[in-house]
Amino acid sequence: MKVFFFRIALLFLFILFQLSFFDILFPWFRAPLFLLGAVVVFTLIRSFPRTLSMTLPLTLLFDAISLGAVGWFSLYALLFAYGTSFLSRRLLIEHRGVGLVLYALVAFGGALLYQALFSLVIYQETASPQMARSAFLLPYENYWVSLLFFFPIFITTYFIVKRFEGYLERIEQRRFLNVR
């Protein structure tokens, strides 16, 4: 039960960080970049099947808090987690050093793709290519600044989650030993 509450608390913190910190710092970004970074981190640390127990509640809760409904982000994040897992196994990129920077780029690329899909939705709804373009084509410096800030945030998140998982594992082990 303790482990469950810790996990839920971490997910809530991540969601609030996205809504009240990241979105205020980078208001032009139309994709939840930090949460996509968190999805990548969970996939790297927990591997795909086990990551679902963290990424699914994360994205469903985010959709529920943000839109008051289940949105497409949950589905997108699921496919993105699968893609990340597939990529990490096929390309055998280790998640340390430069590898971590590459995974941060993967998360950033995922956010850009989400933003592109968002502009497609706008095109579908408004039939205005100009409006769809303005949803996606932001000034270059906006992307650079977000990327620059995102690298340290992604790496910090990676180490926080890694420590957090280690701590929860120790709690589980202690509980197991007590039972025996």
């Binding site: 529920a64 008051g68 989400y114």
Partner: protein, 271 residues
């Protein structure tokens, strides 16, 4: 090596999880999401307040550092402008006192007199589809659903759509579901201002014989009673016929950037 069964593959697991998500997407479980949202908004506002303050401070700091070179030039320009404005202000003060006296004589109420409540932005929409702001005032401070939200100078931002104990959610006028009755100051053309997915505003449903000109100012008309009269919405741009050629329409440029708002004012009631 034994071949892995399809049901043991990651792809199958991903599919298995995608099916309930798709189910929820089409049959939205709002009876779960709405109470959950209320509970979280009630519990999370102190954390949201701390995070948003930190984010605003970092943003301001970065902005300050990046613009340090321009500050001297800007300062010189502002000093010059300030001198001009001081002179102008003195002239306007004389006009204002004269206006007050005339109003008293005619027994007119002051024009823009609202009971306002200041609120800080503590969260905003991430994916861009929602187009809302979370603000730091809620039912404890007497905020109710439907109250208009403005910024300095009476510029319309949106209206309160959800109220929690210590926070509220504001639907921006750029929200696709937002509709505000507007009128141009110069030509008196009436129509509806619709949100365009957080990307802009559209002044629509204007009769064909009305005059729409680029640069004309658009304000709330007060029709429908949702918003008080004369709140500034923006200026018109690119007047054109609607796609069905029945009405005239124009893009609206708001004088404020909805992305960078930190403080807003809630109109509790018109005095």
């Amino acid at each position: 090596m034994p071949q892995q069964k399809f049901t043991q593959t990651k792809f199958f697991r991903a599919l298995l999880v995608a099916i309930p998500i798709l189910f929820f997407l089409f049959f939205q479980p709002r009876f779960i999401t709405e109470p959950l949202r209320t509970v979280i908004a009630t519990v999370a506002w102190p954390i949201q307040g701390m995070l948003s303050t930190a984010a605003f401070n970092i943003r301001d700091g970065v902005h300050f550092l990046s613009s340090i070179g321009e500050l001297k030039r800007e300062n010189d320009r502002l000093i010059e402008e300030n001198t001009h404005l001081s002179v102008e202000n003195a002239q306007w003060q004389a006009v204002a006192s004269e206006n007050d006296e005339l109003r008293k004589e005619l027994e007119l109420l002051p024009r823009e007199n609202y009971s306002l409540r200041t609120a800080e932005v503590i969260g905003r929409d991430a994916a861009g589809l929602g187009n809302w702001l979370s603000i730091s005032q809620g039912s404890t401070q007497g905020i109710t659903i439907g109250m208009p939200v403005i910024v300095y100078g009476g510029i319309l931002v949106g209206r309160v759509t959800e109220v929690f104990v210590e926070s509220s959610r504001v639907m921006l006028i750029t929200h696709p579901e937002s509709a505000v009755s507007g009128i141009t100051v110069e030509g008196g053309a009436q129509g509806i201002v619709k949100g365009e997915y957080g990307l802009g505003l559209l002044f629509d449903m204007v009769l064909q014989d009305a005059t729409l000109t680029s640069g004309h100012r658009l304000v709330t008309s007060g029709l429908g009673g949702e918003f008080p009269k004369n709140l500034l919405i923006g200026t018109l741009q690119e007047p054109r016929l609607s796609t069905d050629h029945l009405y005239r329409q124009a893009s609206v440029i708001s004088p404020i950037s909805f992305d960078t708002l930190r403080y807003v004012f809630i109109i509790k009631n018109s005095l």
